[in-house]
């Protein structure tokens, strides 16, 4: 697929491939996606704002330049801003493709890092030379200030210009807990949300701390997604229960919403309000109990996002989708085109 190389959240030319529960395709202009929805459907989006999680700096023991990418929260909720999981790269920045980035110097527990106005200690390594647990120095306010002043949004080589938070915060962006944008939410504008209201389509949100999507290292990528804290407001849990009671569809805007809702539902199939940490992988073995359809980006085969779609559609349908996206020149990555997939009935 073609890489979307400009940070435009809602390009007028954005396309959407809709795949119904029978595996039938239709192509529409993405800003018409509301037409795929029915009165009574419940749409659930992720309202997490994105941290400027890329922090360039220095590994003090060697004096070598590094880039630390905050990649996950260490605690069970996304509030302790002193403790993170982080992926450390060697010298360089996002202009170099992630898989070509220099490795960091050898990292060990106790090593000090200087990250602009921030400083940190490696608490432990996490089973991979690039993945560490970090403790930042200072009060939480001082850390927020340091991240705000020094951090940049995590970005990848397919976009040349430096991203600002203006580019990566969705219109719903509220609590700053995500490490990369919940980019399926780029499809939403306040105008679209207004259309949902007008058409009697329900709208609710969760907050899910979307983690890092790629580390450039195959072995590390296999461990993605890292555990992701989420919060489900009471109003959203109520709306889900009401939608299920009336037999309405629940449509997730993005894979993070699928992960949170299915985790919160557990084995009982009831989404409870409150905090949780999504640790599960979703793939072709997952039986979805809550989400009936997902709107998401055009993911490349082999990624954890692509694997997740196998919970919605058969592998035969997914292969047809991949070929269809190629044939119609869909654009990929966070600012790319979209797919809308209804859950297919499973053959026992």
């Amino acid at each position: 697929m073609i890489a979307a190389d400009r940070p435009v959240q809602r390009p007028a030319t954005a396309k959407l491939l809709a795949v119904d529960s029978e595996g039938r395709f239709s192509h529409i202009a993405r800003d018409h996606f509301v037409e795929l929805l029915r009165a009574g459907d419940l749409i659930v989006a992720n309202d997490a704002a994105t941290l400027p999680a890329s922090l360039p700096g220095v590994h003090v023991p060697t004096g070598k330049a590094i880039e630390a990418r905050l990649a996950g929260w260490s605690g069970s909720t996304a509030t302790d801003v002193s403790h993170f999981a982080a992926v450390i790269f060697g010298a360089g920045d996002y202009h170099t493709r992630t898989e070509h980035r220099l490795p960091p110097p050898p990292l060990a527990a106790g090593d000090r890092l200087l990250l602009g106005p921030l400083s940190a200690t490696i608490v432990s390594t996490l089973g991979h030379p690039r993945l560490v647990s970090l403790e930042l120095d200072g009060t939480w306010d001082a850390i927020w200030n340091g991240i705000a002043r020094h951090g940049r949004p995590i970005q990848y080589a397919h976009i040349a210009e430096p991203l600002a938070l203006w580019d990566v915060w969705t219109v719903l962006a509220g609590s700053p807990v995500a490490f990369e944008p919940p980019s399926a939410g780029f499809v939403l504008s306040w105008g679209i949300i207004e259309q949902l209201h007008q058409r009697g389509i329900q709208f609710a949100t969760i907050t899910h701390a979307a983690g890092i999507s790629s580390t450039g290292d195959d072995e590390l990528d296999k461990r993605l997604p890292l555990p992701e804290p989420y919060h489900i407001p009471e109003a959203t849990a109520d709306a889900i229960a009401a939608a299920r009671a009336r037999g309405a569809r629940i449509v997730a805007i993005g894979t993070t919403v699928v992960r949170a809702l299915e985790h919160a539902a557990g084995t009982e199939g009831v989404v409870r309000p409150g905090d949780g940490v999504a640790t599960q992988r979703i793939d072709n073995t997952t039986h979805l109990t809550i989400v009936d359809a997902v709107l998401t980006g055009t993911h490349e085969p082999g990624t954890s996002h692509h694997d997740l779609l196998a919970a919605f559609a058969t592998s035969a349908t997914l292969s047809r989708i991949d070929r269809e996206l190629e044939a119609h020149e869909y654009r990929t990555h966070e600012f790319g085109d979209s797919v809308f997939i209804e859950r297919q009935a499973r053959t026992p």
């Binding site: 801003v81 939480w140 938070l165 915060w169 700053p176 907050t207």
Partner: protein, 253 residues
Amino acid sequence: MPHPTTSEPPFTPALSGLRVLVTGGTSGLGLALVRELVRSGARVAFVARGGERVERLTRDLAGTHGIVGDVSAKSDIHQIALQALGELGGLDIVVNNASDLGPTPLALLGDTDCEDLERALATNLVGPFRLTKALLGALSASAREGRGAVILNVSSDAAINAYPTWGAYSASKAGLHHLSRIWDAELASEGIRVLSVDPGDMDTPMHALAVPDADPSTLKQPDVAAHELLERIVAALKSTTSDRGARKVGEIA
């Protein structure tokens, strides 16, 4: 509800526990707002340009979150939003109070430098627009969760009346007043209220800059104006959380 008396500094119990951001929070009306919010048990972040004053006030008012930033600079907006949202864990109320007078001493429009007009517009109109836009997601989350959400933009009678020598300030405040009205109409369905309130002529450093020879005894004290503004916010919050206000999730329109 306890009644504030003239001998005790006023407070507004209905704001207890709410998360509030005030711009221009280290002097005049903004400072009075921050102080009453703290007395009322609100969780407060405030913004101002001067690092030292921000630091001092943060120290004086334990529990507040001081943020150094310039609302007129686009690159500062998300730094402010990120810190406020991170430190407070979300937001229920925003007061866009930071204001720029335009040329000082005040000048006829024909004598106003282009840069003075641009600065007044950037601080009083474009800044509140950008900051509100960056915070809209957080405010709408608060509204969806039934807490209500209010933006109060500090206006002026100069937004309505044409006073000679107040051109740059007036034009920017007139723009802000109209922006507030349109936003209020657009966001009603989200359960967010946007107020534009004239606090009256107050005994503040800014007023002294505009009218150096004013008799302070004829001017309102900023803490009186602050209390009135906070009462307006409480009334607006009640309207958004009442049945007539926000559309509840799960309710068919």
